[in-house]
């Protein structure tokens, strides 16, 4: 199917989203809540584009708009630029101390914050963490409350039974809003304390028991995970050498 993106005719598979079609053709559309692993969520609205179909034209979120007709897409009109600038301006007001938002504010030339803001807040509610957790099969976190109180949390802010302490949420977070701390023998994330399995040989932490359980059940391989990465390498070499200390 042939569509037009920014006056450039491109050949696309019907059913893929406008965002995917644009990225396949090296046309940049900014996003905050999109990830290749699970696609767009239609949440952040940064990917808004103008779609012309015959005489009608409208603004849509390109990450969730599947292409089914021969449409004409504009990715950067003045109206779209204004929308994106507004989104960044508002999110910056929500999390003014996050480096990620500060860079975006400069890029989109949004004004400085003049109102009282929550200095502690880093979350921009993109929900990448929620989707990542869902992909891990845990779904331990979600957006809770409504309106200005909306935030990401576990059910009743308790330690979620589903959480395995993998930290995928903290890894994917663009603003570093999710705290994961690791002390001598515990890992803490989302108000949940995890014991750490230590390497049988050198004592380095390998992971949480829940993580190892996840790996054992998913891989179906009867492997034991009593060793850290370095010691697993050593163990392989030890056996090849026939040398035991």
């Amino acid at each position: 199917m042939r569509i037009i993106i920014d006056e450039k005719p491109v050949e696309v598979e019907p059913g893929i989203t406008i965002l995917e079609a644009a990225r396949q053709n090296d046309i940049d559309i900014p996003t905050l809540c999109y990830h290749e692993a699970f696609g767009g969520q239609g949440m952040c609205r940064m990917c808004m584009v103008e779609v012309k179909n015959g005489a009608t034209s409208r603004l849509v979120a390109s990450c969730t708009y599947p292409i089914s007709e021969e449409i004409e897409v504009s990715t950067s009109t003045p109206a779209i630029a204004r929308i994106r600038r507004n989104i960044i301006g508002l999110l910056y007001r929500r999390a003014p101390n996050s480096e990620f938002m500060q860079l975006l504010r400069e890029q989109y030339k949004c004004p400085e914050v003049r109102l009282d803001v929550n200095q502690e807040e880093n979350c921009i509610l993109c929900r990448l963490c929620v989707k990542a957790c869902e992909e891990m099969g845990s779904s331990a976190i979600a957006a809770v409350f409504r309106g200005t109180d909306k935030r990401i949390g576990t059910p009743y802010d308790d330690a979620a039974t589903a959480c395995i302490g993998c930290g995928a949420c903290a890894q994917i977070c663009p603003t570093g809003a999710i705290a994961m701390t690791e002390s001598e023998d515990r890992r803490t994330i989302w108000n949940k304390d995890f014991a750490l399995v230590r390497c049988q040989r050198c004592g380095q932490p390998v992971g949480t028991p829940e993580q190892l359980e996840y790996i054992a059940s998913k891989s179906g391989l009867a492997l034991e995970f009593g060793l850290c990465q370095e010691c697993r390498r050593k163990q392989a070499a030890v056996k090849v050498s026939g040398y035991h200390r």
């Binding site: 692993a37 990542a132 930290g167 995928a168 890894q171 790996i215 998913k218 390498r233 070499a237 030890v238």
Partner: protein, 159 residues
Amino acid sequence: MDKIIVVQPEKCTGCHTCELVCSFTHSDEFNPTRSRISVINFEKIGFAFPVLCQQCGEAACMKVCPVGAISRSAVTGAMEINDGKCLRCQMCTIACPFGATLYDPVANIVAKCDLCQGDPQCVKLCPSGAISYQAASVNSLSKRKAFAARFTDVFEEVR
């Protein structure tokens, strides 16, 4: 049939050149901690062995990946990581029996041997010829199988 990397530890001198080559090829710096191959040295008995991804048939890394970001390349037969899809949950780094899948915090990627798209640089620059890249023949496969058998023992021992 795909080509595979065959390691002959009796030829390895433990010079760590492969680590430098690997990190330079993939990360533009000479930094063994960012290398996808690592040489384990036993200096007392004069034995060294480069450990790297075995491109397993039933790869644990691929099985534990929640989003299917690890798949076998149709060109080289290597297990490759799609960085765009990868969530950086690092389950594969815990699952790999050889410790050959590692998280690189500088580049924020999970890295493993990708056979350099069919032209492994460590093989090219190994001064003693301990690492070779050969067609999977009866000969090379039997060498690999001999290792595999020994590796199997490793895990029995760990258990």
